[in-house]
């Protein structure tokens, strides 16, 4: 039963990708003209097909965005978790406050940072230029190449607190006597982190990286809200906004389904490879 529930939408999506599904044929839905692999041929081999316009930019951006966000969220989350794992006054309050960005819905994050990145009145430029004098003039963040960082930074801002929470929970499971023994042996704090903490957290890091990767490849909300539904440009367009545009703005639902299926296949391959690596790393730990 569960298998049927999981497979039905996937199979329907696959079938839709084999149809000429546009606004004229949408009301026929699954009875729209069957065109076989033509949608895939156009996406993969026809350089001037509308669906190809901007696909290269979106692929490049998505890959970079996913890697930068995933790695940054994990590194910051882990670093803060290690710091918070020590005893200090108001530790609970600090943990709660640091979690706040994670509670903000991603739609709101996009909209909020959209204002913060504004060139003339945005708080980012006010701080960088007017207060810290780090730059001579206020740069554009929502136009041009900087727009890549305009989507990366808010995503990291929202993602690292939950990483911190997970690593903090994992750190509680690290036996204290291992640290005590290392301290007696004269191992530095950095050495303890490198040789005790990191190996123990490795499975958690590996799994979180996979979740982050999948999550960020399918990222949509922040870009969509930050650029007011308009085109985010060749440095901030990601695969999901592109897919939505092709399917729902260009009304090429069949081609949109084909791109989705290609994305899903690539993601399945990634997960399969990752799972193998994960199993191997677990085996090494044993």
């Amino acid at each position: 039963m569960m298998l049927a529930v999981n497979l039905t939408p996937i199979l329907q999506g696959l079938y839709m990708s084999l149809l000429k599904l546009n606004q004229y044929t949408l009301n026929q839905f699954l009875d729209a003209p069957f065109i076989g692999l033509d949608n895939y041929r156009r996406i993969l081999f026809e350089g001037h097909s509308p669906i190809r316009a901007g696909l290269g930019f979106a692929l490049r951006n998505t890959l970079l965005y996913t890697l930068v966000v995933s790695i940054a969220a994990i590194v910051i989350g882990l670093a803060v978790a290690v710091l918070l794992n020590r005893d200090f006054p108001a530790k609970g309050v600090a943990r709660t406050l640091l979690l706040l960005p994670w509670i903000v819905p991603s739609y709101v994050v996009g909209s909020l940072w959209g204002f913060m990145w504004q060139r003339d009145v945005g708080i980012v430029n006010v701080v960088l230029v007017d207060y810290l004098h780090l730059l001579d003039e206020k740069p554009f963040w929502l136009l041009g190449a900087n727009s890549f960082w305009a989507i990366v930074i808010p995503t990291v801002w929202r993602a690292w607190p939950v990483m911190m929470l997970l690593f903090l929970a994992a750190l509680q499971a690290v036996p204290e006597d291992q640290y005590e023994a290392a301290t007696l042996d004269g191992v530095s704090k950095w050495g303890q982190f490198w040789h005790i903490t990191l190996p123990i957290l490795k499975p958690v890091i590996v799994i979180q990286f996979m979740f982050q990767f999948i999550d960020n490849v399918y990222s949509y909300n922040i870009v969509s809200m930050m650029f007011g539904g308009g085109y985010p440009g060749e440095w901030a367009d990601l695969l999901m906004p592109l897919l939505t545009r092709q399917s729902f703005s260009y009304w090429m639902f069949g081609q949109g389904a084909a791109v989705s299926f290609i994305m899903m296949t690539l993601m399945l391959i990634f997960v399969a490879v990752w799972m193998r690596s994960f199993k191997r790393s677990l085996a090494n730990d044993e």
């Binding site: 949408l26 839905f29 041009g144 545009r245 260009y250």
Partner: protein
């Protein structure tokens, strides 16, 4: 228990006859007394659309107590997806608001009920409505009507009278043509009003859903168009369109539009006008609402702008002085089980009375000419000025593939503003031409795909 079998037996013959007639009357009138229920989808155009719709429908429902109207308010951003899904599945409301550029597409899907000649005549027919919005009720190449215009929007120039006066410029001359307009903007730029430097002009650039609406009047007035006469090819890269876009973007390149405005959307530009950042903006009638609403109710009535502004037409290009004119239509879904009741409600909503009332709520324009010139609306000086500027209103070609075409333009022209802002290579006429060529190529691919 008056009508129990025992009591009926006790009745006399005339009494039994009376009871029979009473029962017969009740049986015959029961369907008429039964409450009808209509579902209507509208888009959020006012701040409190749900309560405004309730208010708008109140007089009609008072006359039709047995009718119940369920209003669903859709957000403009997601409305298209929901409406196409309803059109595809046939599972939608009885009555539906459609953006004027959507009617051709949804009717091509076979989802809308055709509106008969008699029905059209009963609401005044084509001659009762502004021609630009009436053109959106049917596909350009067929006569069948599928919707009736409900409310409209158009664009005109809003300018600061005090700034023009301080710069010694006669607005009539300034808005006469492209040459005089550029000169006026150069003279105005940097004027200091109340110690604050004001920019000549404000317009949004990339991150705005109205990119195409903002450019269209300039292209039309240069003699260009967005689509070829046979509606099969994009003409966004024609010499006329290129001339218009070069002229339009030159204001930003020459510093007459602050570069920072190029990353804003239309609403932020409107706000900038209220705050005294710009001397001129091109926008719609909706800003009349905040400009005539007191601050205590969230408006701008006490602002310097509200006390020193007026409305002017687009400056004339070599080939005309037209403006963008669009809005929303109402249509009945083919799947509706209450077509007669739906039509009655639609007729009411497009009536003069309802349109005038709705304009007072939304400050969108009526689509009926008699409603637009209603004395109660014309009493507002600025509204009267605005209505005076929209006679040359023009709508996009009513083709079923307009939505995708506009999306291609939105994406590519939006991206072109990276060049204008100087963050994607050096601005030049050639760079703009190349961007427009790429836009036309993608647009033609999409048109070929959907024809």
């Amino acid at each position: 228990m008056i009508c129990s079998p025992k009591n009926i037996k006790k009745l006399s013959k005339p009494g039994k006859l009376k009871l029979f007639l009473l029962s017969l009357t009740l049986a015959l009138t029961a369907p008429a007394l039964q409450a009808s229920e209509l579902n209507i989808w509208v888009m959020a155009t006012t701040e409190q659309q749900q309560s405004d719709m309730k208010e708008l429908l109140r007089p009609y429902l008072a006359k039709n107590p047995s009718l119940r109207v369920n209003v669903t308010v859709l957000q403009w951003e997601s409305a298209w997806t929901k409406i196409t899904a309803a059109a595809a599945s046939g599972q939608g409301p009885d009555l539906l608001e459609l953006g004027t550029t959507w009617v051709a597409a949804i009717s091509s899907m076979g989802a809308l009920e055709q509106i008969s000649d008699a029905q059209q005549a009963s609401v005044g027919g084509a001659k009762a409505f502004f021609p630009a919005v009436w053109s959106s009720t049917h596909r350009y190449d067929e006569q069948k009507i599928y919707a009736i215009p409900w409310y409209a929007e158009a664009r005109a120039a809003f300018y600061r009278t005090d700034v023009f006066k301080a710069a010694g410029i006669n607005p009539r001359d300034a808005f006469a043509n492209w040459g005089s307009f550029k000169q006026a903007m150069q003279k105005i730029n940097g004027q200091v009003i109340n110690g604050k430097k004001i920019a000549a002009l404000g317009y949004p650039g990339k991150n705005d859903m109205s990119v195409v609406h903002n450019l269209a009047p300039w292209i039309w007035n240069a003699g260009g168009d967005l689509l070829s006469a046979d509606k099969k090819k994009s003409t966004i890269n024609s010499p006329e369109a290129l001339q218009a876009i070069n002229y339009y973007t030159s204001f930003a390149v020459e510093g007459l539009v602050p570069m920072a405005s190029l990353e804003k959307d239309s609403a932020q530009i409107d706000t900038g006008f209220f705050n005294g950042q710009y001397a001129v903006i091109f926008t719609g009638p909706w800003i009349l609402k905040p400009l005539s609403t007191p601050k205590s109710k969230g408006g701008q009535l006490e602002s310097v702008t509200a006390n020193n502004f007026s409305v002017a037409p687009y400056p004339a290009g070599l080939k005309g002085q037209q403006t963008f004119f669009a809005g929303s239509d109402l249509a009945i879904m083919k799947s509706s089980k209450n077509k007669e009741e739906s039509w009655k409600l639609l007729s009411y909503l497009v009536s003069r009375e309802a349109q005038v009332n709705y304009t007072k709520m939304s400050w969108m324009l009526p689509t009926r000419i008699d409603a637009a010139y209603d004395p109660s609306l014309m009493a507002n000086l600025h509204y009267a000025e605005f209505v005076g500027q929209i006679k040359n209103g023009r709508h996009y070609p009513s083709i079923s593939a307009w939505g995708p075409l506009e999306s291609v333009y939105l994406k590519n022209i939006g991206s072109m503003f990276d060049i204008v802002a100087g963050v994607k290579g050096k601005y030049s006429n050639l760079a703009i031409k190349q961007a427009l060529d790429a836009t036309a190529k993608e647009a033609n691919e999409v048109l070929a795909e959907l024809q």
